[in-house]
């Protein structure tokens, strides 16, 4: 082995070590963060270049693949979740973690997601029912919807939108990934 080769190998090894350390720092931050972390936030907190981040994320993913976690990129950033092959086990052992949503809540959420921005009374018109404040509260509580702006009509009602957290929860990265609305022709035909 020539001296040059040796030096190169050493430097490779060093850089590998650094990537390994950085990947651990990222892992610790992802565990400690209450919300997904964006690439920019990680770069800022750990003073990384885009390339360093990319390499460290690859190292992290590689290491995680030995265990049960996976690194996921969602609408609002990176998060650690249990690989879905263990979902069935978790559902069996902790049935209470399996959150069910009522039809009323899902319909309300759908009106907001597909027709946003909407007002409270838009939702009531589409669904034909008075909107219970409990449903809105649940949606706000989950951080799936937010108020932004006002409709320029009587009473200036607030306009409701979905949030990045909503996309995160449903595994979407963008609103245009929402499943298409059912076809009208199919709805009209007798079932």
């Amino acid at each position: 082995m020539t001296t040059v080769d040796k030096a190169k190998q050493d430097s490779n090894k060093q850089s590998n070590n650094k990537q390994e350390t950085t990947s651990r720092h990222i892992e610790a931050l992802l565990h400690a963060s209450e919300a997904p972390l964006t690439a920019n936030a990680i770069k800022k907190h750990l003073s990384l270049s885009s390339q360093e981040l990319q390499q460290a994320l690859e190292v992290l993913q590689e290491r995680l693949s030995n265990g049960v976690l996976s690194l996921n990129e969602t609408a609002s950033g990176y998060r650690l979740q249990v690989t879905d092959s263990y979902s069935a086990l978790i559902q069996r052992v902790f049935p209470q973690r399996q959150e069910r949503l009522s039809q009323a809540l899902l319909e309300t959420l759908s009106v907001i997601a597909y027709k946003q921005p909407v007002t409270r009374s838009d939702i009531e018109y589409v669904r034909g029912v008075t909107l219970s404040s409990n449903i809105l509260r649940q949606l706000f509580d989950k951080g799936w919807i937010m108020e932004d702006g006002y409709k320029d009509t009587l009473g200036r009602p607030a306009l409701l939108h979905t949030t990045a957290q909503f996309l995160d929860a449903f595994g979407l990265t963008h609103l245009n990934e929402l499943p298409p609305m059912p076809d009208m022709a199919a709805i009209r035909a007798k079932s």
Binding site: E107, V126, V129, F170, M181
Partner: protein, 296 residues
């Protein structure tokens, strides 16, 4: 009474359903309208079974509302939505609704509104058509349009529900933080008032429409002031406005506190204590001399 017997065959038996499941909408979750007692589908019920009105209300709660219920009736009659026969559907709808007890007015409100719409359409169809065409929209077409729009959203909501969802199909990893963090976390000690305030906040969330009044990026959150003022008044009965202020919050605190008091007065939880028969609060009177009392 052909209709009534159909009702009986359709209605859930008065099984005991815990208020929790009704409130959280677990019952409303069942998309198919078969009868269930404790998750077990039931095929036949005795014809002469007495169904108390409460049970009917529970059965009706399986629907997401009158539009959902109308859709069900249309499907049951096996007709095309655009060809919806208004007359028989209206008869059926009204027959069902008449079972509703006056105790369930809250639930009945939306259904009664729909009933009046149906009756209006029915009346219109029975009356001879005026010779001159009017500009008014055809109410039947409008209803069908709404039903279609609702059916579309209902379908979309089912597709949304089929997506892989966090905390149902996949799970976030939960780990504990390092010990050293927990040790340093022992230092901050919390006031038990935080607990009480959180309960007040839970009940007294300001109207969503009032969020515009929150001043300057939540320097003093309105919800916090509402909770704190409620706690002080409910423990002490009455206090002056001055006593209710948190001196550390400055001028903004005074403004937000005043808005909080107004909100509580609107909800009739707080009133102005009238001393010595003096009811009016003079405009140039100091705000701080205002005495407030807890009414709940």
């Amino acid at each position: 009474m052909q209709v009534t017997s159909t009702i009986h065959a359709d209605i859930k038996t008065p099984v005991s359903i815990s208020p929790v499941s009704v409130k959280t909408g677990v019952v409303a979750d069942t998309h198919d309208m078969s009868l269930r007692i404790y998750q077990t589908p039931v095929q036949h019920l005795p014809e002469d079974l007495y169904v108390p009105p409460q049970a009917f209300a529970i059965w009706l709660e399986q629907f997401a509302g009158p539009l959902d219920f109308l859709l069900y009736l249309v499907k049951k009659n096996n007709v095309d939505l655009t060809q919806m026969p208004i007359l028989p559907i209206t008869e059926q709808y009204l027959a069902y609704i008449s079972e509703l007890d006056t105790e369930h007015f809250e639930l009945a409100g939306d259904y009664l509104l729909m009933a009046s719409t149906l009756i209006a359409i029915k009346t219109e169809l029975l009356l001879p058509k005026p010779q001159t065409p009017t500009d008014e929209r055809d109410p039947k077409a409008e209803l069908i349009e709404r039903l279609e729009a609702y059916a579309q959203i209902k379908g979309a909501s089912q597709r949304l529900d089929n997506l892989v969802r966090l905390e149902r199909d996949v799970f976030l990893a939960m780990v504990s933080m390092p010990n050293q963090d927990i040790m340093s976390a022992e230092l901050p000690s919390y006031s038990p008032n935080l607990l009480i305030d959180s309960l007040f906040k839970m009940q007294l969330q300001p109207d969503y429409h009032m969020q515009t009044h929150t001043i300057k990026v939540d320097a003093v959150p309105l919800a916090d002031r509402i909770a704190s003022i409620s706690r002080q008044l409910s423990t002490n009965g009455a206090r002056s406005f001055y006593q209710l202020l948190d001196k550390s919050q400055g001028k903004i605190g005074v403004v937000v506190s005043f808005v909080a008091v107004l909100e509580l007065m609107k909800r009739q939880l707080v009133g102005v204590a009238s001393t010595e028969g003096e009811v009016e609060v003079e405009v140039d009177n100091q705000l701080s001399q205002l005495t407030l009392q807890w009414l709940a």
